[in-house]
């Protein structure tokens, strides 16, 4: 690889790693002050767990030579054996995706899940779910990719995958004490906005880094990422302004993230103008989707389903609409607006596969976790807050 591309991928890897602390703050600001450390800890510790697992088996499951049928990578790269130079760079870049994907889930189970259960769940999920789905979607010989479905930077592999796991885990876990009765307001929106800024910044590495080179495709992906995030924030805020009468800071932040999610599968495959449409749809649809949990009674605490699952689905399908081989041949097929009707069907099929496997596997792992460690902190811990109960720390001590 040329030094320019190496430089860009090193930076992109650093940016994607930085997203996980960003996510921790984004989520941490939204929980009540008695649970902010538990939120930060779940995210930071996920970096540790997944890094080790990815080095040992994750990378080879995802990107080892296919064992047949596009289902699994082989064990050729066990322990990163023989992975050096450019391949090592790719492995490290992909490691950062493997880290943030389970970290995303943590928002759904906030304020009640046991830390030991989280550790166990993430560990198993990072062996049995993430690298498997990554193989399908990202590896040249993976099931979905080989079939012709496309996912530029992880709409399916990262966001739909995390979102559906979040839903499964929420079912296994049950709602927080007081769900739908108490306000449970964010304890620090400045923290959440800071997290949003870091996420947005890091997402350039996520999406434009996925071009795997410092080239015109990276430039396209960069541009569409910026546009979609901006427009989605606009869409969300206008929608809520119209509905509730007020534009909110949390709405702007949420909309931006929704746009970033939706553009992820499309970033290097669509034109800047298409990214306006994708962003707008994502912003409005996700604004609507975060209200579903109240209607259908599942306590997705910080809207991982409403934003990552719904935004990821929207983006994956919209690729079928806006994909352009003129923008990037690698997408293979044109989307609906360019007269192609095949891609959207492939996207639908791929979605179905990921949703079914993701839900079933994640639910089983959740039940297994429950059997081993239990899933929930006890009631007293939930009332007193997970910070003091599970970690024996207080986030803020302003009185000493």
């Amino acid at each position: 690889m040329d030094p320019g591309s190496i430089a860009w991928l090193l930076v992109s890897s650093a940016l994607v790693l930085f997203m996980t602390p960003g996510l921790a703050l984004f989520y941490g600001g939204m929980v009540r002050s008695k649970n902010v450390l538990s939120m930060l800890m779940s995210n930071f510790f996920t970096i540790s767990i997944v890094t080790v697992i990815w080095v040992v088996v994750g990378y080879t499951i995802a990107f080892g030579a296919d064992l047949g049928g596009g289902l699994l990578g082989g064990f050729d790269f066990f322990g990163l054996e023989g992975v050096t130079g450019d391949t090592l760079l790719f492995a490290v870049f992909q490691m950062m995706f493997a880290i943030i994907t389970p970290a995303l889930i943590s928002g759904a189970v906030a304020e009640r899940m046991k830390f030991s259960a989280w550790v166990l769940f993430v560990g198993m999920w990072s062996i049995f779910v993430y690298p498997v789905v990554a193989h399908w979607g990202f590896a040249a010989d993976g099931l979905l990719f080989a079939w012709g479905a496309r996912d530029f930077a992880g709409g399916l592999v990262v966001h739909v995958n995390a979102g559906i796991a979040a839903l499964a885990l929420v079912f296994a876990l049950g709602p927080r004490k007081g769900f739908k009765e108490e306000a449970m307001r964010p304890h620090s929106l400045p923290l959440t906005l800071l997290g949003t800024g870091i996420l947005w910044f890091g997402w350039f590495g996520f999406n434009a880094g996925s071009a795997l080179a410092a080239d015109a495709n990276a430039i396209t992906a960069f541009t569409t990422t910026q546009i979609a995030a901006s427009v989605a924030a606009l869409g969300w805020v206008v929608a809520e302004w119209w509905k509730t009468g007020k534009p909110t800071t949390l709405g702007a932040a949420s909309g931006a993230v929704a746009g970033l999610v939706a553009i992820t599968p499309c970033a290097g495959f669509v034109s800047p103008l298409a990214s306006i449409a994708i962003g707008l749809i994502a912003g409005v649809v996700c604004f609507w989707a975060v209200s579903l949990k109240f209607r259908f009674n599942y306590d997705d605490s910080l809207d991982v389903v409403g934003i990552h699952l719904v935004g990821g689905i929207a983006g994956s399908l919209l690729l079928g609409v806006f994909a352009s081989t003129a923008v990037n041949e690698a997408v293979g097929l044109d989307g609906l607006v360019f007269g192609g009707t095949t891609l959207i069907l492939k996207q639908l099929g791929a979605l179905a596969v990921v949703l079914v496997y993701g839900f079933v596997a994640s639910y089983l792992l959740a039940r297994l976790t429950k059997a081993i460690t239990g899933l929930r902190a006890d009631e007293k811990a939930e009332i007193d807050g997970l910070d003091i109960s599970l970690h024996e720390e207080r986030a803020y001590v302003l009185t000493d």
Partner: protein, 112 residues
């Protein structure tokens, strides 16, 4: 008139408020305190060093009421704030000599 001061567990505030509202209390003021009492404090650990923190977070409620309502208010707080475990808190009743409503200058029971 009386001033009723109650120290309660923080998560009981909503129930206490509703219980007071249901018996016709129209106002109260709520602050944060750290309580020291029979209830053990919690252990905190920072870089391996353990600290025993004697104080636990409590909510402090003040309600000014008519003499006649005082015992009902005490009971309402008591029943709403009770969990039966150590640390549920205390209620104090003090005499108030005068009350004024700032907006109107009213005095006495009318000011409440």
């Amino acid at each position: 008139m009386k001033l009723i001061i109650a120290y309660i567990k923080p998560f009981k505030l909503d129930e206490v408020k509703e219980s007071l509202r249901s018996i016709g209390v129209t106002g109260m003021s709520v602050g944060e305190v750290r309580g020291f009492g029979r209830q053990a404090g919690q252990t905190e650990v920072y870089r391996g060093a353990e600290y025993q923190v004697d104080f636990v977070p409590k909510i402090r409620i003040e309600v000014a009421v008519d003499d006649g309502a005082a015992s009902r208010v005490v009971e309402a707080i008591e029943s709403a704030a009770r969990t039966g475990e150590i640390g549920d808190g205390k209620i104090l009743v003090l005499a108030v000599e005068e009350v004024a409503r700032i907006r109107t200058g009213e005095r006495g029971a009318d000011a409440l």
